[in-house]
Symmetry: C2
Subunit: 469 residues, 2 copies
């Protein structure tokens, strides 16, 4: 129809982006629809150019992402045993300490990471007291390396020292192994940067009584199916990162009969059972290496734009992408927004810390909050928020998990496989829920909440992917 006819009909206006025109129409009493819109990648020409270069090979990328996603779905992690870190973790030797997040040297380490390093040095007997440990830590005689570069993960500071017992997780589909320490409980614990006598005493008890008991039980068990447990706990109000009450319960049920079957002294077994029962985060140190076992297998697929690591050392946030293999893309760690324990203020909080965002990277944790509405009592927000957090993540992920489903979304698979392109193009950042450490060494946890990665990690990754073409 001709332009003159157009104006004979009732005016129908849809305004996209900047709302000035919409506002004028509204003032004049005309009906109009305003659509929120921002240009892709925030309008940044470098990023748009990179997206366009990737778009030119979108067929190859799509095929690589499909392959990566299939690996993630097919991976099947089992808890198979317990070993001493130096014996089982590849490359952990001499005076080396592993830590959460991307690589970092002592001078740039945050308080809780330093606190955990001091604690680990004391635990290893490399120093007699905290000040000697701190001098040694800064001396250059200690080698620091990310857990993630050794098949390991650790919550919060994530410090692993050579004598520590670690869970051994085996991805039976793809053959790779991952490792994680045994969760110490809440309050004053090494992973939150505390290193007092009670912290070290607990670590020694874990080494001498708990770990040997669990090791014998696991030998009898033939391996515990972590993929099955994670699938079940998503129907039991856990999301596998900050709610692990169901996971801890199912692991307890799986382990207890075998613990009784070992020849270990009954009183030690009883103490071990009580220790696990008193710590609803026991399962976190199993959900994390289970996710790591899945994602390590999915790393290194050429052209794949799916994220295989998100991790924080308390100073920087680091991302790794399947198609760029072991390269880290980092940015400053953000402050966690959430609920602080009584007596603490925002000024006490350390920036985002820990390898635990491996759960979100694998499609659980903050991505599965719709499965765990009760978590909002711990990290803040309301139950409807928890639903929305999960729904939003479908916009930046490759697909729906084939094994992990969310009952409240009518059993939809969890949003899985973060696509760097989608994050940069949409500006929607991954939703992570996490604990909050005190910024000073030696204090411990001060709260829990929600946090997002810095945008630049994904932007750098995108540029590197385009560059590599």
């Amino acid at each position: 129809m001709g332009i003159s006819e157009l104006f004979r009909e009732k005016l129908a206006v849809v305004n996209i982006g900047v709302p000035l025109f919409f506002n004028d129409l509204e003032k004049q009493g005309h009906e109009a629809v305003q659509v929120d819109w921002t240009p892709p990648a925030g309008g940044d020409p470098r990023l748009i150019a990179a997206l366009e270069r990737l778009e030119a090979v979108s067929g190859r990328i799509e095929e690589a992402n499909r392959q990566t996603f299939e690996i993630i779905n097919a991976a099947h992690p089992y808890l198979e045993g317990i070993g001493t870190a130096r014996d089982v973790i590849p490359g952990l030797e001499g005076r080396m300490l592993l830590h959460a997040g991307p690589p970092i040297a002592w001078p740039r380490m945050s308080g809780p990471l330093r606190g955990a390093m001091i604690g680990a040095i004391l635990y290893e007997g490399w120093a007699r007291d905290a000040s000697e440990a701190e001098r040694l830590a800064a001396s250059g005689e200690i080698a620091y390396s990310p857990c993630h570069e050794h098949g390991a993960v650790g919550p919060m500071a994530g410090v692993v020292s050579p004598s520590m017992p670690v869970f051994i997780i085996h991805n039976r589909t793809h053959g790779n192994y991952t490792y994680c320490t045994i969760n110490e409980g809440l309050g004053k614990v090494l992973r939150f940067g505390a290193y007092g006598p009670e912290v070290l005493q607990r670590l020694k008890w874990i080494e001498t009584e708990l770990a040997p008991t669990l090791k014998k039980a696991l030998e009898l068990s033939g391996g515990i199916d972590l993929k099955s447990i994670i699938a079940q706990i998503l129907h039991m109000g856990d999301e596998g990162h900050n709610r692990n009450k169901a996971g801890t319960s199912l692991a307890f049920r799986a382990l207890a009969p075998f613990m009784v079957q070992t020849g270990v002294d009954r009183e030690i077994i009883r103490k071990c059972l009580v220790f696990i029962d008193k710590n609803d985060h026991f399962f976190l140190n199993l959900s994390m290496p289970a996710c790591k076992a899945v994602l390590d297998a999915a790393s290194g697929v050429p052209y794949s734009t799916l994220v295989t690591t998100m991790s924080r050392n308390g100073t920087e946030f680091g991302v790794r992408v399947s198609g760029t293999g072991q390269a880290w893309f980092t940015g400053p760690a953000n402050i966690v927004e959430g609920l602080l324990f009584p007596g603490y203020t925002a000024a006490d909080a350390n920036p985002d810390l820990g390898d635990s965002a491996i759960t979100e990277t694998a499609g659980i944790g903050g991505f599965a909050m719709a499965a765990a509405p009760a978590i909002v009592q711990f990290v803040g927000g309301s139950a409807p928020d928890a639903l929305e957090y999960s729904k939003l993540m479908y916009q930046i992920t490759y697909g729906e998990n084939g094994m992990y489903t969310i009952p409240a979304l009518d059993f939809r698979g969890t949003p899985t496989g973060i696509d760097v392109r989608k994050v940069v193009e949409s500006g929607i950042l991954p939703n992570i829920n996490t604990g909050i450490a005190h910024k000073d060494p030696g204090v411990g946890q001060v709260g829990a909440g929600l946090v997002k990665p810095p945008r630049e990690c994904f932007e750098k990754a995108l540029l590197a992917l385009a560059e590599a073409l």
Copy 2:
């Protein structure tokens, strides 16, 4: 304004009830709003008269219901021990067998209830085989009595015989005790009317190994707080009737350390742990007597119109109300609509059976399905349905539970305290989810689903309440 002015304005029509006028307006192109409405109590003059008589003393009823609801909220059930039925259950003596639901004599008993009676007679050694047991059962030499009249409850057939071990639950707030057998697991089990050798063998093992071990563990425990466990499992995807996976897990965690602490042989402890771990309905036989302990305390408040019992014997559904004490108001049990196990059809299903509707009566089970969206995989329907079932129940209940909350409804208390007046007036019946037994003796479970009580139970109760004035 005058009637002539009325018709100068645009016609605004709200039509209530019969839609004929609304339909005409719609046909003529006029806008109108149709409000679904039915007369209170289905327009039944006897019921309306009874509601009016109760309305005349609504102040006293309101005060009685407030008091009843306060008792329900204040009650605090603990699992305190295990005893032999004949030693601990008041009035269970000689050749008496307890059963689920309202009173019923042998000739009117349904197949699964008969099957369980046959099994119990064999278990007690009162007969040498099934046909001798059946003759004895019909001979008049066996006394039958409802569990509910002895402080006891039982799932499905709910048969309790004198030698059976039973959990002892103590409402520490009000001092009353309740009792329930130990859950046998799924498949061919006594409560679904099976009585084969494997059923009797399992019951004997429960009596000789499991019960003594749990009894010793409970002596060491000082009592296990069932109110706290039920509050937790509603945040873990259970509703305490057909989903008890979290409840079983938390009970397992609470019991295992004390079981290890007993002097019982390790292999027996291991077998007991494996037995509990293999049966996610273990906790049903604790959630039920916990609810019974709450509601028994709330029974007998004069003028109270709140329901204290809903229960079925496979032939009839029975309701008891606080203000009318021990009197039963019965109607024919309905057929359960739900999911049948492969190989079975609706023709195999027995009508509604079991004391387990005590959970709905106490504000959990079908009333708390919004807390357990994954249950729809077992009883049918979708996750949004589960939300709606709970929401609807607020319309027929006195208030929101002070301890039991539903995360997905932003931690609203569960709908608690069914008011007979509201049920009759609104026509909304309580929502119960339940197992389905085969209609023949000796077979077992064939499915699970949703069911409603017959309306007449509530109508009879209402008339009795009005009559009593």
